[in-house]
Amino acid sequence: MSEGSKVRKVVSSVVVGILTGLFYYFVYVVLLPTLFSKILPGTEVLETPILWLLAFALFTGIGLANSLLKEHPISLPLRLLSKVLGALIVLTLLNFGVVRGEVFMGGAVIEYSMDISLPLYAIILFSMLMFP
């Protein structure tokens, strides 16, 4: 293999890795929490820029390592790590599926909380099985 094709292979692996990381970031940090907050307007999506930044760095980092070490056996645990990390981030952003809120009715304050964790876990599990 010539020097040029080696460089091309590494560059393409880096690009694929970063894109995969961005894809995971988009699905777990942007898409799923947004979808849940739209379906259930009371869902509390935590505003944690540090967590988003950390998730972005970890997803792209793991995606990159996974892409560069595609032939190596370590790529499988790295891929699993991306998915588990994604699930944890979605759960953290959505308060582990507990929707809370407060309404005022006829002079009374009604605090409500609803546990939607079961369908949330099912969606995360199936998204983990369906994505690459």
Binding site: E111, M114, I116, L118
Partner: protein, 126 residues
């Protein structure tokens, strides 16, 4: 094979999620379309100078069963159990009038179709 497997997983996911989400959709729809879906009534009867009997009655007219219905008021827990369609359950509690605040806090907890735990904490009701 891989595509077939993913299609299979997708189908299973769709069926399971439909089964999980349908009761919640029906419950929310009935809650918004039927004003008398859950009828919660209280009445009281003076037993003597110091004690009063408070009767709580819940009537449910929805099609999604409600499970583990529980009511907590002034450190008393009333367990109503399961509420199928068109059921009225009545429980009572005997309270010491001297210890009853003007606006007691009431906690109602239940499970919608045994899946979604719902808790309502009511404060300051007149």
């Amino acid at each position: 094979m891989n595509t077939l497997l993913k299609l299979g997983i997708g189908l299973v996911a769709f069926l399971i999620l439909s089964g999980l989400i349908t009761p919640a959709i029906i419950f929310v729809y009935e809650l918004t379309s039927k004003p008398d879906l859950i009828d919660f009534k209280t009445s009281h009867e003076q037993l003597n100078e110091t004690h009063v009997k408070v009767v709580f009655s819940i009537t449910y007219r929805g099609s999604v069963p409600l499970n583990n219905v529980r009511l907590e008021v002034l450190n008393n827990t009333l367990y109503f159990g399961d509420l199928p369609k068109n059921t009225t359950l009545t429980k009572y509690v005997i309270l010491d009038v001297s210890s009853v605040p003007e606006y007691p806090e009431v906690l109602i907890s239940l499970k919608i179709a045994g899946i979604y735990r719902l808790e309502l904490r009511i404060r300051g009701a007149g």
